[in-house]
């Protein structure tokens, strides 16, 4: 009995999903048709800006000074690590992690 009920539930879910997808696709076609009749076709340039407007855009830049500070600390730490390696060359000190990572 239980397998039968489970199969029935899955069928209903699948049907519901198909209905939703079909409805969404039909609405998209209607929009496109309306756009086609009421507005002039988009030129390549306009399409470019339209696409750009839809995209989330680049990640907001973190404060420049904060990044520069981190970069300078990273280089300073790398240099200290390199000097430490030269004082006593061994594989461990060459591969030791930087105390001031570049990534936050």
């Amino acid at each position: 009995m239980q397998p039968l009920l489970m199969s029935l539930s899955l069928c209903l879910l699948g049907f519901a999903a198909c209905v939703l997808i079909f409805a969404a696709a039909s609405r998209g076609n209607e929009d496109e048709e309306e756009a086609g009749t009421n507005s002039p076709p988009l030129t390549k340039g306009e399409q470019f800006f339209l696409d750009e407007g839809l995209s989330p855009g680049p990640e907001p830049e973190e404060p420049e000074e904060e990044f520069l500070y981190r970069l300078r600390s990273y280089v300073r730490s790398e240099r200290a690590a390199a000097k430490s390696f030269l004082d006593g060359p061994n594989v461990e000190s060459l591969h030791a992690a930087n105390d001031s990572p570049l990534e936050p």
Binding site: R72, R79, A82, L86, L94
Partner: protein
């Protein structure tokens, strides 16, 4: 003139060191002033008598060029060895971080003195070679570490 311990004079006797120091002329720089820029023709060697100097390389950060310090020089240390080594172009930029006084040694003066005093010239050039060697070894180790980081990122 107050005597300073200078890395390029290591191994010289007092009289010889004084002879070399006499070839330099003092110059003052204020904080923020650029002593030389990357790519400039290197005509003189600089010995820091006071203050502090950053040696930087330009990095492009978020679309802008920024100077990032890779070394610093304090009293007694030399900068500008490119003046003695062809092609005589500075490979870093030097910017004063704390008001500084240098002894500036024009290349021609040094080379002329070295030809008269080859023993002193050999010692000074050996000291310059040691400074260059340290720079090379530090940068080589930094480069190796960066290659290692890149490999670890690729394998992650």
């Amino acid at each position: 003139m107050k005597r300073i311990e200078a890395d390029i004079l290591s191994g010289l006797g007092e009289h010889e060191a004084d002879q070399v120091l006499a070839l330099g002329s003092p110059q003052q720089y204020s904080v923020g002033e650029v002593v030389f820029d990357l790519g400039d023709e290197a005509r003189s060697l600089f010995l820091v008598r006071s203050g502090r100097v950053d040696l930087t390389l330009p990095l492009r950060v978020q679309g802008k060029e920024e100077d990032v310090a890779v070394e610093e020089r304090v009293p007694g240390q030399m900068l500008g060895w490119s003046a003695l080594v062809p092609p005589h172009r500075f490979t870093l930029k030097a910017t004063v971080r704390a008001d500084a006084e240098f002894l500036v040694f024009p290349r021609e003066h040094l080379l002329e003195f070295f030809s008269r005093e080859p023993g002193v010239g050999w010692r000074v050039m050996a000291n310059v070679a040691a400074i260059m060697s340290q720079r090379f070894q530090v940068f080589q180790a930094m480069w190796l570490r960066q290659v290692q980081v890149t490999l670890e990122h690729q394998n992650a």
